[in-house]
């Protein structure tokens, strides 16, 4: 009996340790394959080079266009998506009539569950032609990716912000009312600031989702490996760079793609760590 108790405890412990092992394995295999070529090409050259010509002789691997494109699409998606998301969260937490809420809440969960390839397809048949009609050009553009990504981050921003808003003690709201503030002002100027760390969390998670999104961006952004001159030009994100070329890449080319993944991985890790640092400081 004693043996079984201890045995199962060990099994649970081993399972718990597995996630540590997986993170270790992922880091190990990415770094083993990606760091040597990065050093070989020169870290600075690799990160700041503007030419990505993996198949020409001699090949050149400059990742800067992809880094900039990932940055622009993510920032754009946040600029469009976050205000709408936060306002919708205020609506859901404070304004929405109850019967309407019962219909809308599952809708937001559903928005989070739609596969990214379906989002991408929707963008392909609706957003791309729309941009082509309004602005001219081919339609496959940074702007198309931004519009779609801003929709895709909405459920993350809304559901986490809403939970944060609901976690604010009701006394804050009542206190504001007692001081003569109106319903909507109390929600915006008292409850919303009180929930700011949770809302920041929602933005950071949304950022991670936008930065890491692959299929939807590949299908819409046009994928030219150059620094986009305007939002209407096509460009290629870090994620797209991997997915587009991995199928036929060999040798140094393949390693350069693994290095691309390392850059992406480090960017997301930095965002997450900075964020948890701020949360811990805010919690004190």
């Amino acid at each position: 009996m004693k043996f079984r108790e201890q045995g199962m405890k060990a099994v649970f412990l081993i399972c718990a340790a597995s996630s540590v092992v997986f993170v270790f394995l992922i880091c190990l295999f990415l770094f083993i394959n990606g760091i040597p070529p990065m050093l070989e090409l020169g870290v600075v050259n690799f990160l700041t080079g503007t030419n990505w010509r993996p198949t020409s002789t001699p090949p050149s691997f400059g990742l800067l266009p992809m880094i900039i494109t990932s940055f622009i699409t993510t920032a754009g998606a946040l600029v469009l998506g976050v205000p709408v998301g936060i306002c919708t969260a205020v609506f859901m937490a404070r304004v929405c009539p109850k019967p309407l809420y019962r219909a809308l809440k599952p809708a937001i969960d559903l928005l989070a569950g739609i596969p990214s390839v379906v989002y991408g397809f929707f963008g392909l048949v609706i957003i791309v032609p729309m941009i082509r009609d309004i602005f001219g050009g081919r339609g496959f553009s940074v702007l198309a990716a931004i519009v779609l990504l801003s929709i895709m981050i909405l459920p993350t921003v809304i559901s986490i912000s809403e939970a944060a808003l609901r976690a604010v003690p009701e006394t804050y709201y009542e206190g504001a009312l007692a001081l003569g503030s109106s319903h909507i002002r109390s929600a915006f100027f008292v409850v919303l600031p009180a929930a700011k760390s949770g809302i920041l969390a929602s933005v950071v998670l949304g950022m991670g989702r936008a930065l890491g999104e692959t299929m939807a961006v590949v299908m819409l952004a046009g994928n030219q490996p150059r620094i986009p001159g305007s939002l209407l030009e096509g460009a290629r994100s870090l994620t797209a760079n991997i997915v587009l070329e991995m199928a036929y890449a060999t040798d140094i080319h393949r390693d350069a793609l693994v290095a691309t993944a390392i850059v992406l991985f480090v960017m997301i890790l930095t965002i997450n760590l900075t964020f948890s640092f701020f949360i811990r400081r805010g919690g004190r």
Partner: protein, 283 residues
């Protein structure tokens, strides 16, 4: 004149209040119009394209059947849950029932789980290719895809298990100990059954994530459009099938039909998860 009427209607309300109220309604409307237009468009355009030849057992470049992809999806989902399910649930049990509160090890596992949850699926795909496909020599195979996906959904199952177990009142456990049950029996007979609906809801969410995954599978399970005969065969899931169809740009109607099947599956899974979670909060 109309403007005067509108102004009269808002008399006594401060302009800021009106503006803010309008703002939240408009933002909410934008969100739900976006959702409705995606679902509405796909269903409206796609249902008409669902033809019997899309469900033939063998894929050819003429019929573009999605049935092999559907079967592959079911197999991969089942296998991935079989691996990640116990692993995630046991981790949750360890974190809630065994580890002492605030221990360093628990902190470490939580950071690792957050890291895993933040890794983009394409990075998982790349890792799966480097580790399972090349290093372990599995080749493009559904087992490589299954193992990659198992790691990907692990943090989700772990977190939902942890939350579900935490919401089981301590008095249940104390009652069990009081009646003479050991730790293990208390975990499996008392804590786990009480937390089961929450865990199940998490597993269904994980199912949805697998069904919709593309980037992590392209370079692990590959994209051969046939029913896999064993674990080392390469095969494509429905989401990969849909990507293949729409990226070729020639098969829009088949892509619409595939999107309908994917969307209906996701809607169904969400509804089931919601139903279970609701029963959970009621009971």
């Amino acid at each position: 004149m109309a403007l005067v009427n509108i102004l009269r209607f808002f008399k006594g309300r401060k302009p800021m209040d009106i503006a803010l109220t309008a703002l939240v309604w408009i933002c909410a409307a934008v969100t739900f119009i976006a959702l409705l237009s995606i679902i509405g468009h796909i269903l409206y355009m796609g249902v008409g394209h669902l033809s019997p030849e899309l469900f033939e057992l063998v894929y050819t470049s003429d019929n573009l059947s999605m049935l092999p992809a559907i079967i592959t999806t079911i197999q991969i989902t089942g296998l991935a849950l079989l691996i990640a399910g116990p692993l995630g649930i046991f981790t949750g049990i360890y974190l809630v029932e065994y580890a002492s509160r605030g221990s360093k090890f628990v902190g470490l596992i939580r950071i690792m789980a957050e890291t895993l949850a933040g890794i983009p699926s394409i990075v998982y795909g790349l890792f799966g290719m480097l580790f399972f496909v090349i290093f372990l020599g599995f080749g493009f195979s559904i087992i490589a895809g299954v193992l990659t996906l198992s790691i990907m959904i692990l943090p989700l199952i772990m977190r939902t298990t942890e939350e579900a177990l935490k919401s089981v009142p301590d008095s249940y456990r104390e009652g069990s100990y009081g009646l003479g049950a050991g730790k293990l029996r208390t975990v499996f007979r008392i804590a786990l059954p009480s937390a089961a609906p929450g865990i199940l809801a998490g597993i269904i969410l994980a199912t949805g994530r697998i069904v919709g995954e593309t980037a992590a599978l392209l370079f692990t399970a590959g994209s051969v459009p046939r029913i896999p005969e064993n674990l080392s065969d390469s095969a494509r899931t429905l989401a990969v099938h849909m990507y293949a169809l729409s990226s070729e740009g020639l098969h829009t109607s088949q892509a619409y039909a595939t999107a309908v099947v994917l969307l209906v599956t996701v809607i169904f899974l969400n509804a089931v998860s919601r139903l279970i979670a609701k029963r959970f909060t009621k009971g």
